[in-house]
């Protein structure tokens, strides 16, 4: 789809993924400007309801960044995130929303390059998927 610039909502944990994003910044590693990031203390605090809310309000993709397994600042929050995301993807696909629109990535505080890379990849993938179908639904119903 030409000219489609997806809106991506991101949730990143303070200790790893957000730090990784900072490092991407410090390293001036460029990535597309489609991400709007919300900092949370731990990825474990991210609720499925936020994901649904984001889609319902028109996000084309939702990105979640947490610490690598074993690296969680709060010991094990990220394991919960992984399980929530896996179940959420099933829910999304049942609701007809491509589960690819929800992306969970582990990014450490030392992985600036990786942060930029996964965000770039995700944006490209969402571009490929096209706009959030919910937006179109809304349009149809006026």
């Amino acid at each position: 789809m030409d000219g489609f610039e997806p809106k991506i909502i991101g949730f990143c944990c303070n200790w790893c993924a957000y730090a990784g994003a900072d490092l991407a910044g410090i390293g001036r590693i460029q990535y597309p400007p489609n991400l709007r990031m919300i900092r949370v203390m731990c990825s474990g605090t991210i609720e499925p309801v936020y994901v649904l809310e984001a889609f319902q309000k028109g996000a084309d993709g939702v990105f979640i960044g947490g610490c690598h397994p074993g690296d969680c600042h709060y010991q094990a929050g990220n394991y919960k995130t992984m399980r929530k995301v896996i179940l959420m993807k099933r829910l999304l696909s049942q609701l007809g929303i491509s589960p690819k629109r929800l992306r969970l990535e582990w990014v450490s505080a030392a992985e600036g390059q990786r942060f930029a890379q996964v965000v770039t990849d995700f944006i490209a993938e969402v571009k490929e998927l096209g706009p959030n179908p919910l937006n179109q639904e809304v349009a149809q119903h006026g």
Binding site: Y79, K84, I97
Partner: protein
């Protein structure tokens, strides 16, 4: 008491269990009768829609509406009731949250027709005749209400004053209407708008079972296990919606060994009942040895939840954040 209020009971897509529930008031229905004149209740008495149409604006004091709004006629009734009633109460899960008929949002009208009028083995319909809103035959016009593509809760059609959830609502909760009505009669006062006539807490608050440890490592469907009758069902791996479901029903299902299925809807703090339960279940499922579980292991764990939407949104899909199935890419 001389003065009585005017009460109407309207309905949409319903199993009429809500009507039965009102009748289940048993002798208390007399109390109700002493407080209210029933001006519309098609299930119980021979009311016609035209009679409702004749009622003046605001003439009805309180309306109860049960059932999902599924057709143009349901919507019409809702608008009539709303216009003619001072107070309208969403009665029962279908009215409050869309209810089980609301699961129709996972399919389209066309798909339903396809199944109901073509694919079921007992159907012989070679010409694939499906309901039409208007059919002319032999010079006669026959009309049917239009079946909507989706099912909706009452609040999505009209402004709702109170909610009385349950599938059907528990008699104890319906009984709570009686003092509300009598108080209204005496003082003209009503509870604050938006009040849910049920508990503020979740089912666990009134659940009689013992809670020990909420870590779950396997999910059982009810037929796969004979549960310990004293212990929390969720802890035994049975998907019980109780933690995410408003209490007030008197633990009716639990009392007969069945897990809560969520008919009372979420608490006031929760915007989306299903998503909250997804969060809770995914958090505790496999938590015990989470560090040893690979992504594949987690996928296998989640395979045990056969129908996430049907399980977590059994009664509340139409009021969920994403309340219908979308066709990605269409």
């Amino acid at each position: 008491m001389d003065k009585k209020i005017k009460l109407a009971i309207g309905l949409g897509a319903t199993c009429a269990g809500c009507d039965i529930a009102i009748l289940d008031l048993n002798e208390k229905i007399l109390d109700l009768a002493s407080l209210a004149d029933i001006v519309f209740w098609p299930t119980a008495m021979d009311f016609k829609l035209s009679e409702l149409e004749k009622i003046e604006k605001n003439e009805i004091d309180i309306s109860l509406y049960h059932g999902t709004v599924r057709t143009s006629e349901h919507e019409h009734i809702v608008h009539l009731l709303r216009e003619r009633s001072k107070v309208i109460i969403a009665f029962g899960s279908c009215s409050c949250f869309g209810g089980i008929p609301g699961l129709c949002n996972l399919t389209s009208k066309e798909e339903i027709f396809e199944t109901a009028y073509k694919e079921t083995p007992s159907t012989v319909n070679p010409e694939f005749i499906t309901p039409k809103t208007k059919v002319s035959q032999d010079g006669h016009d026959l009309t049917l209400p239009e079946l909507y593509n989706d099912g909706r809760a009452l609040s999505q059609i009209a402004d709702v004053d109170y909610y009385l959830p349950g599938c059907p609502p528990a008699v104890e909760l319906i009984e709570r209407l009686i003092p509300i009505i009598s108080n209204f009669l005496e003082t003209g006062e009503l509870p604050p708008k938006g009040t849910v006539i049920a508990s503020d807490k979740t089912l666990c608050d009134e659940c009689p079972l013992t809670k020990e440890n909420k870590m779950v490592s396997r999910i059982f469907r009810p037929h796969e296990i004979i549960p310990d009758p004293k212990r929390c069902l969720l802890e035994q791996g049975i998907l019980c919606m109780g933690p995410a479901t408003r209490g007030g029903c008197g633990s009716r299902c639990i009392n007969v060994g069945m897990p809560c299925r969520g008919c009372m809807g979420p608490t006031a703090e929760v915007r989306d009942q299903g998503a909250k339960m997804v969060s809770a279940i995914a958090s505790i499922l496999g938590a015990e040895n989470e560090k040893d579980l690979s992504e594949d292991d987690v996928e296998k764990l989640m395979d045990q939840i056969k129908d996430p939407v049907g399980t977590f949104y059994r009664f509340s899909l139409p009021v969920a954040l994403v309340n219908k199935r979308i066709k990605e890419g269409s």
